[in-house]
């Protein structure tokens, strides 16, 4: 079975400051990794994914994440946030050959003007 830990339930950040949202996972098999964003009153939108290859992946809206196998982490970063980045961010994993996507509990990113 897989599990995902997002230690920070809420992260307040000043506008134009950098941000890192942390994600650690646990799995006995290889996994694919995803970050989803949920804007208020909307569904889940894919930000980025790691399948294989380069450990640094770039996504939409200026976000990027780095897969670190030794630390079993997949932290999400953005060098300069905007008010429009206010949302809930979910890290998720799926094991190779598995159907079930396992989500973390989410991190609410609040941008302070």
């Amino acid at each position: 079975a897989q599990s995902v830990t997002q230690l920070d339930s809420q992260v307040p950040v000043f506008e134009e400051a950098p941000v890192e949202l942390r994600c650690n996972y646990s799995s006995s098999v290889s996994v694919y990794l995803f970050w989803y964003v949920q804007y208020p009153n909307q569904g889940l939108q894919l930000l980025l994914k790691y399948l294989s290859g380069s450990t640094l992946v770039k996504g939409i809206n200026g976000f990027e994440a780095e897969f670190n196998k030794s630390q079993t982490s997949f932290h999400l970063r953005k060098p300069s946030v905007h008010i429009s980045d206010t949302a809930e961010y979910f890290c998720a994993v799926v094991a190779f050959g598995n159907e079930k996507l396992t989500f973390g509990t989410g991190t609410r990113l609040t941008i302070i003007p």
Partner: protein
């Protein structure tokens, strides 16, 4: 860009009533899912559906739940006799194929059981 659509956006029902949540996945997608998110909690897998049958289900997906693809476009989740604890946001999702293709989610149906 094609998207997954869900109706209704909000459904209120009384305990013990049956509800059907509807979804139209993206047209060329082959795998369909239902997830739910109880307020303040994580998004949880309910069921996956491929080739007109359930391929995997979670322990949450008991006999009160069923899924169906009645025609070539709709994918429904039925709850036979709703309980208060079924109140949640229900998300439909679909993907093209292969396990590494990402899920595309709808905007969800908020189910409130009173």
């Amino acid at each position: 860009e094609p998207e997954v659509t869900q109706t209704p956006s909000h459904q209120v029902t009384q305990m013990g009533q049956e509800v059907i949540l509807r979804c139209v996945p993206i047209s060329n997608h082959l795998y369909f899912y239902w997830y739910r998110q109880i307020l303040g909690q994580k998004v949880e897998f309910l069921v996956s559906f491929y080739n007109n049958e359930i391929s995997e289900k979670s322990e949450i997906f008991d006999d009160q739940f069923s899924v169906e693809r009645p025609d070539g476009s709709n994918f429904t989740l039925k709850i036979r006799s709703t309980k208060l604890e079924d109140s949640a946001m229900y998300f439909c999702a679909s993907r093209v194929q292969s396990y590494n293709s990402p899920l595309h989610f709808g905007n969800g149906t908020r189910l409130t059981v009173t």
